[in-house]
Amino acid sequence: MKILAITEQREGKWNPVSFETVVAAQQIAATQTGSCVTAAVIGKDVRGLADELATNQVAEVLLVEHDLLERYTPDGFAIALRQAIAQSQPDLVLLPHTYQVRDYAPKLAASLGKGMIADCVGYRADKEGIVFVRQMFQGKTAADVSFQGAPPWFVSFQAGAFRGDQVTRGTAPAPITTIKIDLKQEQIRTSPLELFREAKQAVDLTQAPILVAVGRGIKAPENIPLAAKLAKLMGGELAASRPICDEGWLPMDRQIGSSGQTVAPKLYLALGISGAIQHVVGMKGSRTIVAINKDQNAPIFEVADYGIVGDIFELIPALTEALEKK
């Protein structure tokens, strides 16, 4: 059986899960007589990576290079790898189950009219052939899946299914075969933008010394800038109770309470927050709590150090004005 392990790199750096895929290929090959392992690296100017890959015990390294593969596109990768598969004729194609693979591998398999078993956690090999194991029902049960029909067969393995450090080194560098890729710009229907890292949390309320939090009493999204301005003048951050974020008036990362964040700032100014227990559990550790609410029976006053029974629409402008004068 000829096994092809496809690796993943970005800007010339390995995705370490690549070596898990090579290990998977080596281990499966060991169970099937007459097997050989080929490893492929795909990108632009990745000769160095191919050399490194060749130090492992593989029969051959495929170098899939093209200028248009510099940056990842699903069309580019699927077309290039299809050509690599056509030339090397593997029976089994192994991939790491990464976001990139999730994106292009189904397209690649489907373009060849083949099936793919994705996100496997292991395999079992016996005389009958190889069975791949994948989890179902959030890992509560495992399913054995095998292929029907003619190769090549596609399988992706979950990160951690194999140990990358168990890779077997070769005694001599494996030969590197350059795959000639025929790829044109017009075949690629997407153009990638700059890579960016999604800001995990735009604001870290747990670190803010002063929080100005708004609740239902703020009434309408148009009124939120009033509180935002006050927060800025006080040198604090704007926070909110659940209904405000639920309505989408402020993003979820500003929500305080049992379904949001737990905070303990030096000063917590609660504007128009009634003080349902769900909110209070998220802020009762604040050093000083000041609450403004129209309803004198609002439970927020039970945890407040200072309370004002009044209209926030009178008090916010008054506070803002006083701070501006300073």
Binding site: M136, F137, K140, T141, P243, D246, S258, S259, A276, P299
Partner: protein, 552 residues
């Protein structure tokens, strides 16, 4: 192109890991083992039974009083008295009539409410234990997975589809999106409890309803820890009267448990006339009665919850079988509303279903004709006898408490027939009186924070949690009705009947708008049942969401 669902093939798929579903799974696993060990032909696979449960863990959504009649459990687990987590044997029971200030103990406890030989249990703990036995027997229980759609194959049922995971508020797939699985089974057992979301649609679609529509009550419950010496473990009290008026069906319970815990609650028939009636508030007021206050004063609230109860009984039983499908437990109306007991029948019906299924698997015949023996088994078992003897009980209360009680004694003497048999009864949501001329809505109940609580505080104590970024699981089919009609005709009863503050009408651009706080939902199903226009469809949210009824 729509992506293909992953598929798993089962012999038997049970939807709902409550007492009915788990009893079915356990009994069936044992029957199949016995069949195979005794060389029965054909050999049946032992690993083909699967159970779906929407709760986070086993028992998480289980709520009951509960006084357990152990008859069925003794059949299922003969050594239950030594091995089951029973709280306390009932040592003393009493019935009370409550006036606004006084409580009158009935000189004798009416026979249906006599509980000697029964046990006070936490249904949550009982189900957790039962689930452990089921798993030991080799059955796969998939917690955090709900059945959301039945797979039809002609007139028969061929399995269910589980809910999609990882959709955002607007229904768009998130990073962790997983399409629901297609679980195919030779026999699907619906054990969803009261007003099951699959059962409801199946009964409507295939016209399986009984003679009477199903009617429900809602039970609102709190678990308290009280200073020692207040009540003995094993003390059982049932009340009628205040705070419900005599036109309403329902009553209260107070059970003494071990470790100074007290289970108490109020059950209210979801067939009241006042659309502004608030079952949660009624329960809070119940606690302020001197009789109840005396027990709770100085104690602390441990947990809160609410759940509906099917009380229609025999004449509301749907057809409980069709091709490839059985309906058991509360979903099948198997509850004795006069004795306030359904767990024993849930367990027994699960066992009878298991026997039916074994027979069908052996014969390779899962047709409706062959599965109809399940209904005969129910009729011939003590379930049939017990339910027939109270078949007109609940209906006789439709004209108030006094006529109901009077009729109940006639029924007792005539072994269930009563004065009119069968006695008919409309669905509860048809019983509202319109608001015409009613004054402005009274202020909402606040609670003193010690003995009584507002709904949000109680919801906090239910341990309810949902993934917030998912589509709302309470489908209101036409929100125009809420704004254009309901406000005026009924004063938006969803704001009142929901014991978890899910529904509220909020000011919006000069008018009002329905706001659904779905993540408060304790999965009681009251809204689906009690909405006067029947436009609320309760569907399971992403699996794992909902209350955590630890110890309830």
């Amino acid at each position: 192109m729509s992506p293909e669902r992953e598929r798993l093939d089962a012999d038997v798929l049970i939807v709902g890991a409550g007492p009915a579903g788990l009893a079915c799974a356990l009994h069936l696993a044992r029957l199949i083992r016995q069949h195979n060990e005794s060389g029965g032909k054909p050999k049946l696979p032992a690993e083909g039974i699967y159970v779906l449960e929407k709760g986070r863990d086993l028992g998480a959504h289980q709520l009951s009083g509960a006084v357990l009649d152990p008859s069925a459990l003794a059949e299922l687990v003969p050594d239950f008295a030594e091995t089951a987590p029973l709280d306390a044997p009932v040592c003393d029971d009493a019935a009370y009539f409550l006036g606004a200030r006084r409580a009158w103990k009935l000189p004798i406890t009416p026979p249906p409410l006599r509980n000697h030989g029964n046990y006070i249990v936490s249904l949550n703990r009982l189900v957790k234990w039962l689930g452990g036995l089921v798993e030991q027997a080799g059955v796969n229980i998939f917690t955090q997975f709900a059945g959301v759609q039945l797979i039809y194959e002609g007139e028969a049922i061929a399995g269910v589809i589980t809910e999609d995971k990882g959709r955002d508020k607007d229904g768009k797939p998130k990073d962790n999106f997983t399409l629901g699985y297609e679980l195919r089974a030779k026999i699907t057992v619906l054990a969803e409890g009261p007003c099951g979301s699959l059962t409801k649609h199946l009964v409507a679609e295939k016209n399986l309803g009984g003679l009477n529509p199903q009617v429900y009550s809602v039970g609102v419950k709190e678990l308290w820890e009280v200073p020692s010496g207040r009540v003995n473990a094993g003390w059982v009290a049932h009340t009628v009267g205040w705070p419900l008026d005599s036109s309403m069906y329902g009553g209260g319970w107070i059970y003494g448990m071990r470790d100074n815990r007290v289970s108490l609650g109020l059950v209210t028939g979801l067939e009241f006339h006042n659309p502004r009636f608030d079952p949660h508030e009624a329960f809070q007021r119940f606690k302020t009665h001197p009789f109840v206050r005396r027990i709770l004063a100085g104690g602390t609230l441990v947990r809160y919850g609410a759940k509906t109860v099917p009380v229609g009984g025999w004449y509301s039983m749907p057809r409980v079988y069709l091709g490839g499908c059985l309906i058991i437990g509360d979903s099948a109306s198997l509850l004795n509303s006069q004795r306030l007991k359904g767990i024993h029948m849930a367990i027994k019906s699960g066992m009878l279903a298991a026997e039916t299924i074994l027979d069908a698997l052996r014969a390779g015949d899962v047709s409706a004709a062959n599965l109809s023996q399940f209904r005969r088994k129910i009729d011939q078992s003590w379930i049939g006898r017990e339910l027939r003897s109270v078949r007109n009980f609940h209906q006789s209360f439709q004209h108030g408490l006094w006529r109901g009680l009077a009729h109940t004694s006639v029924q007792y003497l005539t072994r269930g027939r009563g004065l009119v048999d069968p006695m008919r009864m409309p669905a509860g949501h048809e019983q509202y009186h319109k608001l015409d001329g009613a004054g402005p809505a009274p202020p909402r109940f606040q609670g003193d924070g010690m003995l009584t609580f507002d709904r949000l505080t109680d919801v906090y104590h239910s341990g309810t949690r949902h993934e917030e970024d998912q589509p709302c699981h309470l489908h209101v089919l036409d929100t125009n009705i809420c704004v254009d009609r309901c406000i005026f005709e009924y004063g938006s009863p969803c704001q009142y009947f929901c014991p978890a503050a899910v529904y509220e009408m909020v000011e919006d651009k000069g008018g009002q708008r329905l706001k659904i706080n779905f993540s408060n939902c304790v999965h009681c199903k009251t809204c689906d049942i009690a909405d006067p226009y029947q436009i609320i469809d309760w569907v399971p949210p992403e699996g794992g969401g909902g209350p955590n009824y630890e110890g309830m």
